[in-house]
């Protein structure tokens, strides 16, 4: 009986470790998609002139189960929404929106990578 309990405990620990790994992996992939662009979501990433906007996105684990990335750059919404006919020499707009709608693809990719399916 105790060996069964031990097995259950080992499984629980393994499951917890896997969950944390998926969480961290998904957060990392979201950050990459928003900032640098992603083939998974189609997000182009933040356009770079001086690098101010790209470097302003700060990822943060706010609790064991929550994560966020934020920017305090005032013109970030103009870039995100492609307002005022902004010209993009590299990367492009809508990276946050594309990352949001591509989130299921991110989760699928991260879990598949962890399972060694790809």
């Amino acid at each position: 009986m105790s060996s069964f309990d031990d097995a259950l405990n080992r499984f629980a620990l393994k499951l917890d470790a896997r969950s944390r790994a998926v969480f961290v992996g998904v957060a990392t992939e979201v950050q990459r998609s928003v900032v640098h662009g992603s083939e998974v979501t189609g997000a182009p990433g933040q356009p770079v002139d001086t690098g101010n906007l790209r470097d302003s996105w700060i990822p943060e684990f706010t609790s064991p189960t929550t994560w966020q990335t934020t920017t305090n750059v005032g013109y970030a919404p103009i870039v995100e929404h492609n307002l005022r006919g902004v010209t993009f020499r590299n990367h492009g707009p809508h990276s946050v929106a594309l990352t949001r709608v591509g989130f299921p693809r991110i989760v699928t990719k991260v879990t598949a990578d962890m399972a060694g399916a790809r």
Binding site: S38, E39, V40, T41, G42, A43, P77, H81, N82, L83, R84, G85, P93, H94, A97, L98, R100, V101, G102, F103, P104, R105, T108
Partner: protein, 222 residues
Amino acid sequence: MIDFLLAQLAFRTRAATLVVSTTGSATLGATAAGYTRAAGSFVTDGFLVGMEVVPTGFTQTAPGVVSAITATLLTIDGGRTVQTAGAARSLTVGLPSLHAWENDSPLTRYVTRPFLEEDFVPGGSSNTTWPARIGLFDQDGLAIYKWYGVQNVGVDAISASVTALMRLFTPGTYLALADGSSIQVRGDVAVKRSQIMNTGDGWAVCIVTIPWRTTTRNVVAA
């Protein structure tokens, strides 16, 4: 794989059917101030300050922007050509007559008139079943409409307009493409709108984002 041009055109076609508010066919007149009616109510019909109305049945058919409203008088910025009351006329608020589709020649904008911009944004794609040759090929993306309303007249007109636009693209809405394929408005991440933001140069903008998805059979070229 879908034809992106056809997909973009399908979104435009549906957006063009937008009716935010209308008198329907009614007996209407025009004065130097705007439009008049003896029966019915411009208020009840849903007109709001800052909306652009398109007249039909009048001699002057140019759109006009509402600057004040009572039940029987719809005041139009700049006034109207006087015309006695007549039947079978209408006033309708739809998609702004000034709109810039992607890569059109630059739009001449007027700070007293609403206008609309379009972004059609392809997203991710992946083959979801095996083998690839006949697998299911998922594609998604965003149709984005940026509604620029008249600045400093409150949120009513812009909010009512984008809400009506969003109701054309509720989750599960199918858009038929000209080649027989279709795309669907997503429900897991669904149509949304932004806060109304003052652009600082004459307009206030609200952005409607419509996530879409399509699944087709993958074809591998010979």
